[in-house]
Amino acid sequence: MSNAPAPLDNMDLAMPTPWQQSWSLAKRHIGLQTGALIVLVALIWAVFAPWIAPADPYAQDLANRLAPAVWQDGGSWAHVLGTDGFGRDVFSRLIWGTQVTMIVGFGAAVISGIVGSTLGMLGGYLGGRVDAAVIFLINVKLAMPGVLIALSLVSIFGGSLLSITIILSLLFWDRFAVVTRTATQQVRTREFIAAAECSGASRGWILFREILPNIANQIIVIGSLEMGIAILIEAALSFLGLGIQPPTPSWGILVSEARDTMFFKPHLIVAPGLAICILVVGINLLGDGIRDITEPQGRN
């Protein structure tokens, strides 16, 4: 037997790295691009609201109440979407409202993602009693009417940005837990996990370094879904008067405030409603797109 084994290695090395691969997929993914654009605009609105908004969102001008929008008779560019019942500039309030909406949506998705994914991964990987406990928690959560509990909790703890975010995130971790638990169970049976155990890896290492990267893209999809749902629930709570408290501009509050005038000033309720709709769709498109371009290679 010769000392050097026969080389069976004649593939060329010019293979794309995962980043290059994702990038070339992204360039062809219309949904991802649309979603990314929407979320990017929303982010810019949220971060740069003080500079973008043409007027102070809190400044009332009672002499100029319910001014028409720019495309209506008597409308002016000073108030693109007109003014509300207190004479505040609706367009400025819409832009400032993005801040609240994004903070609540993103915060709730991140916190519930951390809670839910940790529970789901622990249950899925360790199995046995830990898994039974996780399933019990999930079932308890599923048996609770989420929005109703959110309503009562908000009425107890008040409608501050922080309390709304935390309450929403504690209500929506179950989907993360269910998905990560199943995904973890699937990854756990694969040989590279046994191989990692055989190479002396600790349980923590296996959970967070071997399993987590393999299920991360599924977590991102759930995250985008939950972010959309959190934004909708926040709007619903605000609409019911139990969410963020006026005069803080949030999209839900804008909808709620426009309720009284919705028959003769419909654009006041359509604008924030459309904004919520577009942002939620955009976030979901982005999440789906990220999942599509980050699928780990060589799974099948």
């Binding site: 090395l13 790295t17 995962p18 191989a195 002396g200």
Partner: protein, 346 residues
């Protein structure tokens, strides 16, 4: 009871009466019963048998990889002087991947798809405190070159899906070698590979073994692999070792009727009667649930007689040298049967 001990004075692994049982809904399943063997440093010990005979699960027990429902018991299971069945998870982590490694069957799934092979190779080395990342890289490059991968330094940045199956199995072998183990358990290391790559991979394993003086437990169902690579063989059937011998002797004098059947099932190229039907062993492996009485092979055995159903288990008897088998028939009768199968005068 006769042990399957051999002359080697300081075995790297010594297993005595290893029982692995699995709790199932319909009763206790005896995956292995009274497995005993010694592995000397630098030798290849093959465990051969058909699916479900307990060959994989006995090595899973050694690696601490048993499923939750399984329990392993043994008189002793000494690896490198340590009783490995009673080690804590943490103590076991210090051994696994370090002095004791494992090569898995399917190279397509035994590498993590999200990390480069360089990350995965260096990780083991650093984890066991063998040196810095830079030293780990050097060792990884050295080993990748040694297993026949060109451009090893660039290859470190490749992801598993960018490599072919044969290359991946070489990476897996290199990974098992990172910490210079004393014993590698190779569970069907070539089963998932194309036949054209199988022999090259096996040749590589045996070269590495000679070069680095490591011991290998080779688990396989392929007697061809056994013949080409191993020093000693244990044939397993229904959770027991039914015959053990030095490889050449096993093929020359297969004594247990099951071993005889297995060897007759090997198709040989250039057979004198190419139209002849390939012999098979009739019947099926018995259920391993509940207590086993007598010989587990009796319902498929051409030489079975009434006594085969008696007693708890058939004792392992030694013939000559290190050759032992688990059958009530005397050696002469079994050998006469073997010759009869080939049309030679009994």
């Amino acid at each position: 009871m006769a042990d399957t001990t051999d002359a080697c004075r300081e075995p790297i692994l010594s297993v005595r009466n290893l029982d692995v049982t699995l709790k199932t809904a319909i009763g206790e399943l005896h995956a292995t019963r009274g497995i005993s063997y010694d592995i000397c440093p630098g030798e290849t010990f093959a465990i051969v048998g058909e699916s479900g005979c307990g060959k994989s699960i006995s090595s899973m027990a050694l690696m601490g990889l048993l499923p939750r429902i399984a329990r392993a018991r043994a008189d002793h299971c000494l690896f490198d002087g340590q009783e490995i069945l009673s080690l804590s998870r943490r103590q076991l982590s210090k051994i696994r991947g370090n002095t004791l490694s494992m090569i898995f069957q399917d190279p397509m799934t035994s590498l993590n798809p999200v990390y480069t092979i360089g990350d995965q190779l260096t990780e083991v080395f650093v984890r066991h405190g063998k040196g810095t990342r830079a030293q780990a890289r050097d060792r990884a490059v050295f080993l990748l070159e040694r297993v026949g991968i060109k451009n090893a330094a660039e290859r470190l940045n490749a992801y598993p899906h960018q490599l072919s199956g044969g290359l991946r199995q070489r990476v897996v072998i290199a990974m098992a070698m990172m910490c210079s183990p004393k014993l590698i358990i190779a569970d069907e290391p070539t089963t998932a590979l194309d036949v054209t790559v199988q022999m090259r991979t096996l040749a590589l394993l045996s070269e590495l073994q000679k070069e680095f003086g490591l011991a290998i437990i080779l688990i396989t169902h392929d007697l061809g692999v056994v013949a080409s690579l191993s020093d000693r063989v244990a044939v397993m059937y229904a959770g027991q070792i039914v015959e053990t011998a030095p490889t050449a002797q096993l093929f020359a004098d297969p004594t247990h009727p099951y071993t005889q059947g297995l060897i007759r099932c090997i198709p040989s190229y250039g057979e004198p009667h190419p139209d002849a039907e390939l012999p098979t062993i009739p019947g099926m492996v018995p259920s391993l649930i509940g207590r086993q009485k007598g010989c587990a092979f009796r319902n498929r055995c051409p030489l079975a007689f009434a006594d085969c159903a008696e007693g708890d288990t058939i004792a392992l008897r030694e013939t000559h040298g290190e050759h032992a088998y688990r059958c009530l028939r005397p050696h002469d009768a079994l050998m006469a049967h073997w010759r009869g199968l080939h049309g030679e005068p009994a």
